[in-house]
């Protein structure tokens, strides 16, 4: 008899080889090796099937709980919380919005390259959109569940389901909370009569020139980031806006679509100081007096250019190395106050001062 390990001659019936110490019985055969390989094939096959399915658990938001943290889930619903953008000193960190499917609400966060890819492709969610989104369920340190999305294709926005109802500003402004459906899409037309930049979003007043009725337009933080500030403002003339209805207290507001929320004619600064008030004007001349420091923007400052007072709003333009006697070109809106006519250089518009 030979030792099955070292091949040397050993006595019959021994359990252990006297030469190499290997056990002669109770050994591991090829069948066991094949069994382990088969187990690995099975596990690998299950994982391949999971990857083919995209490995998503379709869930209703109301069924999600903290116990499901780190689960990979797919949910669908209507965007009911305004899309916003996280910024850090290096740029955009991510996009966030809330969806509701009727059973509950869930915050969605899209991070890093995925968020950048959505911005670059201009495929972005708007309030009222129907979306399908897949991601990893996480528990925030602030005490709520959110869905972390790190793959751009994991967010599907059903733009084909956007149906815009044409409503006049008067109709929207006069409707009671029960008359209109929140998050339904509308299209309306008017003139922008005020701009109020907030920390993250911009509020506009859209006025119907015929009836004088007004409605508040909301440009969310994501739109503001994507478009930049100087696209919609006073002096654009008649603009057509599209967005979703949103109740603020008992009043209806319209939140603009994140992309393609308005058609506004380009602002033309063709007026002069003698034009009608609210005209957009171009003023060229010499700075006669200066109050404030133009080099320390975003602080506002004022000056007199060729006899016309000019007020520059905070955040309007870039820091300027400007002094009395310098030649400037000013673009702004002509307004009339108690002291006479003046030019207002507004933030969030194409207005500006060039030395």
């Amino acid at each position: 008899m030979r030792c099955p390990s070292c091949g040397r001659e050993i006595p019959e019936g021994v359990d252990v080889c006297p030469h190499c110490g290997a056990r002669v019985t109770k050994r591991l055969g090829m069948r066991a090796l094949l069994a382990f390989s088969l187990a690995l094939i099975l596990v690998g096959g299950v994982y391949a099937a999971l990857s083919l399915q995209g490995y998503r658990t379709y869930a209703q938001i109301g069924d999600l709980s903290r116990k499901m943290t780190y689960a990979s889930v797919q949910v669908s619903g209507i965007v009911t919380g305004s899309p916003s953008v996280y910024l850090n000193p290096r740029g955009m960190e991510g996009i966030s919005f809330t969806i509701s499917d009727g059973t509950g609400e869930l915050r969605i966060r899209v991070y890093g390259k995925a968020a950048q890819r959505l911005v670059d492709s201009r495929v972005l969610p708007s309030l009222g959109d129907r979306v399908e989104v897949s991601g990893t369920l996480l528990w925030s340190s602030a005490g709520y569940l959110y869905l972390s999305v790190n793959y751009a294709d994991a967010l599907v926005i059903r733009e084909d389901l956007r149906h815009f109802q044409e409503l006049s500003i008067t109709r929207i402004a006069s409707a009671s909370p029960s008359e209109l459906e929140e998050y339904s899409m509308v299209e309306t037309t008017g003139i922008v009569t005020s701009v109020r930049p907030m920390e993250y979003l911009v509020l506009y007043t859209l006025t119907d020139p015929g009836s004088g009725s007004s409605v508040t337009l909301v440009m969310n933080g994501l739109t503001r980031y994507v478009l930049g500030d100087a696209k919609l403002g006073l002096g654009n003339g008649t603009v057509t806006v599209r967005g979703a209805l949103k109740l603020y207290g008992t009043e209806w507001e319209v939140e603009l679509l994140t992309v393609g929320g308005f058609d506004a004619p380009a602002a033309e600064y063709s007026g002069s100081p003698s034009s009608d008030p609210y005209s957009l004007v171009t003023l060229e001349g010499v700075v006669e007096s200066l109050s404030g420091d133009p080099s320390t923007l975003p602080a506002p400052f004022s000056m007199v250019v060729s006899g016309i007072p000019v007020n520059v709003e905070a955040y309007a333009g870039r820091p300027l190395d400007l002094g009395v006697g310098d030649s400037v070109v000013v673009k702004g809106i002509l307004l009339e106050g108690p002291g006479g006519r003046y030019v207002e250089v507004r933030a969030l518009t194409m207005d500006g001062v060039w030395a």
Binding site: P4, S5, C6, G7, R8, H19, C20, A22, R23, K26, R27, L28, G29, M30, L33, F36, S37, A39, L40, I41, V43, G44, G45, Y47, A48, L50, S51, L52, Q53, G54, Y55, R56, T69, Y70, S72, K113, A114, S134, T136, L138, S148, N150, Y151, D153, A154
Partner: protein
Amino acid sequence: MMDLNFVLGTYLFALIGTVAGSLISSLPGLHVYNVIGFALLFYIPMAERFPVHPFMMTAFLVGMLVGYGFVFTVPTVYLQAPDDTLVFNLMPGQRYLTEGRGHEAVVLTSLGALLGILALVVLAPLVMPYLKLLSDLLNPHLHWIIGMVILYILLSEFPKDFGRRKKISGRLIEGWSTIAAGYLTFALSSVLGIILFTKTLIEPSRAFQNLMPALVGLFAAPNVILNLISRREVPRQVIQRDFDADHEDLFNGTLSGVLGGGFSAFIPAVTAGIGGLLAGHATAQWGDRSFMISMGASRVVYYVGAVTLFFMPLIHVRRGLLAQNIALFYAPETHAQFYLFLSAIAFSAIVAFFMTILISRFLARRVSARSYRIVSAFTFAAILGIVFGMAGFVGLAVFAVAAMIGIIPVIYFSRRSNALAVILVPIWLNMSGLMDKVVQLLGLR
């Protein structure tokens, strides 16, 4: 979304990578850095000529890594030229080889690797939710954890026997020579590591291979040199049909290997060998069989586990050279990709396991057919050729220095783990913020 063609394409690339990695890993004197170097050599022309999906390229690279993880056991056992992760396998491997059981040693180590991969792919999705937490908990403490590993290596030289000489002074010298040799190895390896981490000895175009000559010199060369000098001969090798291990060996070895490999994959600078040794002590495991199984498991869990961490959604820890290189051209994003990645690993592991058996059978028949000195001479020439090809003349110089350090524990029978200081000490110094002071103290800046 994945489709069947994508999955099959991934398997195909994993298969090509595994076969290529397995064949390359049959060469002695290799290190994982070389395998990745070869992989990148493949990748660059392929990416230019055939625009392949980066995930499939990743499958190719991981296939190579898995191939290396399995097949490098073969030159370690037959040619006695291990890398830093298999250095502890050398002693039992050598014993098995001299008993004509080299093939059995290879199969047991590879079986450990197969079970290690099985454990890795099963456990990875289960432990994923806790790894981020663990990573956040451990990151501020890594410097002292590595410090403890260093302390463990230093203390593991004790206890030693007294010398057997007649005079007290002779016994004292003999008793302490092994320990002193161990600490000398540790000190010299540390200095070598600090120099390599702070100075660009090898020209920048070969900078990818900066550490490789030292690692090959420290771990692969010493035994080959010793075999050349000592005229060792190897008996005829037996190709076993069944193997000396039972389920207890398999369980103990795999458990200890997975723990050690997982620890090494998670903690920078700690390689699989020392991780496996630590886990072996922690699980009170003993015996050559389960030790070899544990080393096989530890090694693959260390290499493949590090890349798996990178593929885990939301964790993306870039641990290990391959993960860092993959991150240059690909960022995994979804759970589906993670599961396909695990599936490709499982597939590669099976291919690599059977390739290891085939290559081992091939070598077992040839290694004893001629003088082992000739085999060792061929091995040494192959090592020199690889080091020169990868790192040039300066690389050969670094290799020579490292080999001289690496031969100290072989001559004095001290622990080879002391040579791991070449990686551990510089990284520990960097993490604890002491590197600058030490560099100034050594006059390197």
